[in-house]
């Protein structure tokens, strides 16, 4: 076992290589560029710096179909550009890993300052119905570990898996234990071995294109069921029980690191696989009278939590990339006072 000091973004790159990454295409963007830099000198990885993020995601789709485990990394603006082809990868069932190191948006926003504004973009960014698996670790060690899981889940589900990070965790330096986690081998036969037709059109084996609603329903159902099945293997969350508190805090990513300070006063639930949502939250939430979601946006995950639990959920919204313990504490107290 080796202990090394690594930056969050470096951890993703190094873990990706260990997880079998063979092809990387990317475009420079703060705060994700270190992943590109870290991979440049890797001898086992074919790397292309593309002209934009659209080219990057499409190049990794091609490479993955041709048999190479592939990844790209970006931040919010680039992630937006990739959305159309993320839908394509779901439709064509191509295993990919897409890393999004979030920064303050919308638009150019505040580069390098962390935010969590892409949570909904992960789930609903592309058009049509698809069911992405999204991991959002909150430490360098977890980024390392979940990079492996992201690659494995992509192979198992034949779909693009999103590894969400943020400017804070991505640029964080921590000492971690470098381990080799399990690797799932490729099952999809590479291009040049058969006469398959990969298309973004609604399709069935014998029909490359169709306008039959039954075939479409069957296809979407298949995509959904497949994701449910695979994501069961990755029911990853952290729960810090507090029997003396009647309030549960829900946070993820950078902001969840701050909530540990409140564990004497509150219970804490931190989803790591943020989508599809982990159903265990229903049982956990039943023990608490109040639920507060803390997130670095104007309220994205809070709606998803409310929808799943069918009850009122409070929000602590942190905007502008500044995480201030005092500020969060006073917002929590205010919610308590209102009760």
């Amino acid at each position: 076992m080796t202990k090394i000091l690594l930056q969050g973004n470096q951890a993703i790159a190094q873990a990706a290589v260990k997880a079998g990454l063979q092809f990387f295409a990317g475009y420079p963007i703060t705060p994700a560029s270190e992943i590109l830099h870290e991979l440049v000198n890797e001898k086992t990885v074919k790397l292309l710096q593309m002209e934009d993020e659209i080219a990057s995601i499409n190049a990794i789709i091609g490479a993955s179909l041709a048999g190479a485990k592939s990844m790209t990394a970006t931040s919010g603006p680039g992630f937006s550009l990739m959305q159309e082809s993320i839908g394509l990868a779901h439709m064509m069932e191509v295993p990919l890993v897409v890393v999004d190191v979030q920064r303050v948006g919308p638009s150019t926003g505040m580069p390098t300052l962390p935010a969590q504004g892409d949570v909904m973009q992960c789930k609903y960014g592309s058009h049509g119905d698809y069911f992405p698996i999204v991991f959002y670790p909150n430490s360098v060690d977890e980024l390392y570990q979940y990079t492996f899981h992201a690659f494995n889940a992509a192979e198992e589900s034949l779909s693009p898996v999103i590894l969400l990070s943020d400017g804070y965790v991505g640029h964080l330096y921590e000492t971690i234990e470098v381990k080799d986690y399990d690797k799932t081998e490729r099952t999809l036969a590479p291009l040049g071995t058969s006469n398959r037709h990969f298309t973004g059109l609604t399709h069935e084996d014998s029909k490359p294109a169709t306008s039959d609603p039954e075939i479409h329903k069957k296809l979407i159902h298949h995509l959904e069921e497949k994701q449910k099945l695979v994501s069961k293997k990755y029911n990853a969350y952290e729960y810090i029980e507090n029997t003396s508190s009647n309030t549960l805090l829900i946070a993820y990513g950078a902001l969840s690191r701050v909530t540990y300070h409140f564990k004497d006063d509150f219970a804490i639930y931190r989803p790591i696989r943020i989508f599809p949502m982990i159903k265990d939250i229903k049982k956990i939430a039943a023990h608490y009278k109040e639920i507060i979601v803390l997130e670095m946006n104007t309220g994205q995950y809070v709606n998803e939590v409310e929808r799943l639990l069918h009850r009122k959920v409070h929000l602590v919204s942190i905007l502008g990339g500044k995480i201030d313990l005092q500020d969060i504490w006073s917002k929590l107290k205010q919610i308590r006072r209102e009760k």
């Binding site: 499409n58 091609g62 190479a68 592939s70 291009l191």
Partner: protein, 245 residues
């Protein structure tokens, strides 16, 4: 004994006839690509066809080999990813001018800088046919379209200059000049680096009829009348077809 040259070996026969309109030129380009592959003995197992979106985007689905029908404009980066992941594959892009030169124009520009060893066959019908006949990047100046009823005011795109500057293969031909087009495509498949063959073809349904052509045959004959073969040219004029290496 010379072997019999047929285009049928590379097509999924059960998918024929194609769904394209009567008089469409896309089928001719499909045949040209198959003949070039046949001549070069491309193995079905080592060849991949990639297409984008549009009428021509449907091409990939007809080939009896692994094929990818990507999103609009992104066939070239997909093809580059495939080639970079497996250099032994023959990677061929078959797509339209709107797809490759309009929405995907930037990818062609940069793929030519990288000079990735892929072959691009551009079905240039000078119109967005599938969406009803809007102006495309290769629409001739003055040509009437759905979105330019008074005639297109814009200069058609000319990609030969940067492809030549980046040491890529560029050739232009038409579906009327069948043998010339076949030569262009066959040579392009042998080229080491990025090759781009622009095949001018007709869309009677959403272009020709708006411009006064009675049928596809008249459009074909117009290629005979309007284009002169010049294989020695350094730069092809707008009414010339030929090969720039």
């Amino acid at each position: 004994m010379t072997k019999e040259i047929t285009y049928l070996n590379y097509l999924k026969k059960e998918r024929l006839p194609t769904q394209w309109c009567p008089g469409c030129g896309n089928g001719i380009v499909l045949k040209l690509v198959c003949l070039a592959m046949e001549k070069l003995n491309f193995s079905q197992k080592d060849t991949v066809i990639v297409s984008g979106i549009g009428c021509s985007g449907r091409s990939a689905g007809f080939f009896n080999l692994d094929s990818v029908h990507s999103v609009h404009g992104r066939a070239i980066p997909v093809a580059e990813g495939i080639k970079n992941a497996n250099e032994n594959l023959n990677v061929i892009v078959v797509s339209g001018d709107g797809d490759l030169l309009g929405i995907g124009g930037n990818h062609l520009l940069h793929a030519s800088r990288r000079n990735t060893n892929i072959s691009v066959v551009c079905i240039a019908n000078s119109i967005y046919g599938m969406t009803g006949g809007q102006s495309s990047p290769t629409t001739e100046q003055g040509s009437r379209t759905l979105t330019a009823p008074q005639g297109s005011a814009e200069t058609p795109i000319d990609v030969q200059s940067f492809l030549k500057a980046h040491h890529c293969y560029y050739a232009r031909s038409t579906v009327f000049h069948f043998n010339h087009a076949e030569k262009c495509i066959t040579e392009s498949f042998q080229f080491k680096g990025l090759s781009f063959v622009e095949i001018k073809t007709q869309c009677i349904t959403n272009d020709g009829r708006r411009r006064g052509f009675k049928n596809a045959y008249e459009m074909l004959i117009s290629y005979k009348e309007n284009y002169k073969i010049n294989n020695k040219a350094e730069v092809l004029e707008h009414n010339e077809i030929g090969i720039i290496r």
